[in-house]
Symmetry: C2
Subunit: 206 residues, 2 copies
């Protein structure tokens, strides 16, 4: 049986689309069970509907605080048997309620080679620092901002004359390959968490 994914998305959902495309391949070991957004009009929800995937808008205004929001979020994901949650452009801070419920079963993607340039505006940070190599990272979610155990990374060159936009576009093509790769490794049981390190088993368990 294919692993049930929950995808959390607040924005345009380009990484969601890469995940949906991967799941459309017959040999991919996961399927998207539900896409959750905190924004009613997130284009990501349109992408989910177009792929025939259930969507759920959880309106922050319906909840007294972050913890009650996250409690509802966790319940909705668990009700649908979600085995792995993928944050894909989720703009809301997630509380320990969520992090604890899905520890080792929730991933996020960040467009830099972490630990360099965590947080907001990583491409601007990278260009301001003058690095010649940047990239993308998929990591397990923990309590920090982009601090979780690293699953996969890939590098891209920074080119002379790059702007935030040109660098972001180059990194995005790598993100779209990297997120499905991380999901596949998880779904095939090839990831083992040792301390803060993710050991990738070269052999599948299947």
């Amino acid at each position: 049986m294919r692993l049930a994914l929950g995808v959390l998305a607040s924005g345009r959902g380009s990484n969601l689309q890469a995940i949906l495309d991967a799941c459309a391949r017959p040999d991919f070991p996961a399927r998207v069970a539900v896409v959750v957004s905190d924004r009613e009009r997130a284009p990501a929800l349109d992408r989910a509907r177009a792929a025939g995937v259930e969507t759920l808008w959880l309106n922050p205004k319906d909840f007294a605080d972050r913890e009650s929001y996250d409690t509802a979020l966790v319940r909705e994901l668990e009700t649908r048997g979600v085995g792995l949650v993928c944050q894909a452009g989720w703009m809301r801070i997630l509380s320990t309620v969520y992090v604890r419920a899905f520890r080792g079963r929730a991933m996020n993607i960040h467009p830099s080679l972490l630990p360099a340039f965590p947080g907001l505006h990583p491409h601007r940070q990278a260009l301001d620092h003058g690095v010649k190599v940047s990239g993308a990272t998929v990591h397990f979610t923990d309590e920090g901002v982009d601090t979780g155990p690293i699953i996969v990374q890939a590098a891209v060159p920074v080119e002379p004359g790059d702007t935030d936009d040109t660098l972001a576009a180059r990194v995005l093509t790598v993100e779209h390959r990297l997120y499905p790769e991380a999901i596949r490794l998880f779904a095939e049981g090839r990831l083992r968490l040792v301390g803060r390190k993710v050991i990738v088993n070269p052999e599948g368990r299947g």
Copy 2:
């Protein structure tokens, strides 16, 4: 006329060897004028002698303090018309006397993708953090530890089962390509320092 290099080396000098090998190519725009070591028996000095390059041992015990050592070092380099200094496994802390004399004309190499993992034991730091991509950086020397403006970088994968030694060996092959590349860019007048960023001009001035 080819740019005169001074190379500072305390150890076995594998990056020095890569620089000597590059300089042996007829089209390379630089030559090693002198190799300086703070250690009398550094294998790097043997490599220099084997290449017919002048060597100089500056014994720290002959100087009262760091500043007087660096004053002598700067004088020896300037006497020989050195236009660019390459620190290649130089284990002594350099004072502002040196940094000011050669600002924008001194480079160092560090075996990580800076700003990640500066300082000692970068490979151990990288493995402990669990990154999946590491690499090497050539940067201009400034007052900090591995904080100077970045000239060139290249990435290498971290493989499952890597130790300090296997990762160091993989990064070292990249270092040996990267240091001559940075020297060539400098010698061809293609580097421009803007704030903390190094702009690489794709056209040579020649």
